[in-house]
Symmetry: C2
Subunit: 424 residues, 2 copies
């Protein structure tokens, strides 16, 4: 077990908390949480499910599995309830899959902080592959093929690729063309694709052409999702996994259910009632989710524009609530002020400008890069009233508390590009 | 990953379900569930906690950890909140501990079905040690010492012993003397004790002298418990773990929290509000729990008496809701009818007598033994109204639906002792 460490997020949270305790005002863009109130219909279901105190079937109740199957059906992924397993969060399912499926793991760099430690926990080796210029969440297809071959030549057994679309940390979404190219590599090199689609329902533009690798390579793609991001239910811990409708898929699902039966037994009964409701996608819930996606888009674009204006390279965000600027164009100017890598950039933004972000190295990116992730959803405010105000505004960036926070971000990013000693 | 299998419980459930579907009436003593309604005060807390949709601290919220610390304080185990981690069930904590602590595992035989697969999942070797004649849930101390030395001589590294008091499957509770002897072996051989006390609040006799190994060997005992059994909340998935108040304990807790952060993030927010309430042990909840313990005792004793009268050796149950008869005295008579081991005994009871039990082999016991676990809590009935009736009765064994089920059990067990071809 080589995992012992305080996670990067937690360490940042501690640093922020101690500065706040000392009276500083911090704009905390470090924490990847949807930061919106619970939709009332979800609370109703939690309440009506309270009587579910029996252990149910490990994968989930019939009603909940049926609802999830319907959710995937509506996304061009025909699904039987027997292809689904529920869990207290998508993390538990990802770990169970890692434990159940042999072979080493290939990850895009950067990617979500949790994939690599999970692979290590399951005793696997991890190989990282750079993302293409157009978007993150997927490795560059050519680099992926090379990485697989190099790893095999070195005696490793790379078999699993994790993809994220929309992506954390870049806030971008792989295009259909890119997904098809990744699937072609997976076919050629006999790789299992794990498609993390937890931000899928938060694509900003409703007309975006979303393609799941499970549509292109259905026999070799496992899809994982949950309600933490799309319905702001991180604290409720609800994840689901969909396995291929093949014999291999059945076997993987049985193996994951077997791990589940030893680790978490089943998703809590009241939460399964929430699953039934949420994955059925009633109109009132979809309306709220779509409005949230628009809100996330508005703030992510605002922070993107600030970063771009300050001189950073930054992919335009298309889903979720992240922006991933690269201040490489300002390397010389930053170096003159002592900022030479991701960590010193993160530190500078927090210590001098009161803006908390997470440096790229924490996501498996090159630690020398002048890159970081900004989670833009925290801009809505830390109280439900403030969040509600942001949700209801026609232009959320103009809501006073949001605008003030954006001003702090703008000052901070602009200061990075200022001549040393000069003023922004 | 050598875990792939349908768990014994699930396989039995399937067999029972298919017989029930075919119109048979089955008394299902196979499933270890408290089988009682949710206490209304718990539902109130789930509801008031619904707004907790943020990710909180991985180990648990300050209020919840404080409540759990108080719970242990009241059990002569002085505890700081910083010694506690919450999880969606005690299973998750046990697995995390196995992943976090190096060394192989020693288990009493028989013991709960889940400990061994969890150890395998964590890449450990498992050594089983027989229980003493007086009670289960602990290995015989002398046999434990020998097993440790033999395992070390064979090159293994046995470091962890799991104890269960009250015990699943035997329904018995280790005496203080036995606990002290086990702790002495643990000291002498430098072993970590994992004390599973999930049935602790279901000791039948309020005057029973309960001793936790954490009182005797505080520096080398981790305690795990939860609400699944004592408050009939299996389907809500709430577990807690208490680490020693030492530097070693702190390290273990940090490692388990690190695994937690990659596997389940944190216990669901609404459930943490339930933890705050339940572990504070308000009087109304304690009254209900104590009444449940008396009910469990009455039914476990009834089934014990039936088994003893039928000729089985059976330890008198003292906690929880299990009985573990041994039909060895009837081996010859049973052999003449084709029943020669635990599995054939289990099959006979189900197929000929409509009584579902789980053979000892599933608990790591010698599969040749004529032993099985009967979970007596299912006798209360499968509907809340029936359960309520059993809870409210002065003599629950006399409640009509309970008495009828006990009659079926009596017929079944007595038939095992009848001369082949004759009548019971």
């Amino acid at each position: 077990m080589a995992v012992r460490r305080i996670s990067a997020n937690l360490a940042l949270d501690h640093a922020v908390a101690s500065r706040q305790a000392a009276g500083e005002s911090i704009v905390h863009l470090g924490f990847g949480e949807a930061r919106l109130p619970v939709f009332p219909g979800l609370v109703d279901r939690l309440v009506s499910g309270a009587g579910r105190n029996s252990y149910g079937p490990v994968p989930g109740s019939a009603g909940a599995l049926r609802a999830v199957a319907g959710y995937f059906d509506r996304r061009r992924l025909p699904t039987r309830p027997e292809q689904v397993v529920l869990a207290p969060g998508s993390k538990a399912l990802l770990v169970a899959l890692q434990l159940a499926v042999p072979g080493d793991v290939l990850l895009p760099a950067p990617c979500w902080v949790t994939y690599a430690p999970q692979a290590v926990l399951a005793g696997k080796d991890v190989f990282t592959v750079p993302i293409p210029a157009e978007c993150g969440g997927v490795p560059d297809p050519d680099a992926l093929r090379e990485a697989v071959r190099a790893a095999r030549a070195a005696g490793a057994n790379p078999r699993i690729v994790v993809l994220t679309a929309p992506d954390n940390p870049t806030g971008t979404t792989a295009t259909p063309d890119l997904i098809r190219r990744i699937c072609a590599v997976a076919e050629a090199e006999d790789l299992l694709l794990v498609s993390d689609e937890i931000y899928r329902d938060l694509v900003h533009d409703p007309d975006f052409e979303y393609l799941s690798p499970a549509e292109v390579a259905p026999d070799r793609t496992v899809v994982v999702t949950g309600l933490s991001k799309s319905l702001a239910l991180g604290g409720w811990r609800i994840g689901v996994m969909r396995f291929p409708g093949t014999e291999d898929g059945e076997r993987m699902r049985a193996d994951v259910a077997s791990v589940a039966s030893e680790v978490w037994s089943t998703l809590a009964g009241p939460m399964q009632e929430v699953v039934e409701y949420a994955f059925d996608e009633p109109a009132e819930l979809v309306a709220r989710r779509d409005a949230d996606a628009r809100l996330h888009g508005a703030l992510a674009r605002a922070v993107h524009d600030i970063a771009a204006k300050a001189g950073a390279l930054v992919r335009p965000p298309t889903g979720g609530f992240y922006v991933y600027p690269d201040f490489e164009p300002l390397r010389d100017r930053l170096a003159a002020t002592g900022v030479v890598d991701g960590d010193s950039l993160q530190e500078r933004l927090l210590e001098r400008h009161g803006v908390a972000v997470l440096a790229g190295g924490h996501f498996g990116d090159d630690p020398r890069g002048l890159r970081f992730r900004a989670a833009t959803s925290v801009l809505y405010g830390d109280r439900p009233e403030l969040q509600q105000e942001a949700m209801e505004a026609t232009d959320p960036t103009a809501v006073p508390h949001v605008a003030r926070a954006l001003d702090v971000v703008e000052l901070a990013f602009t200061a990075l590009g200022a001549t040393p000693g000069g003023r922004p």
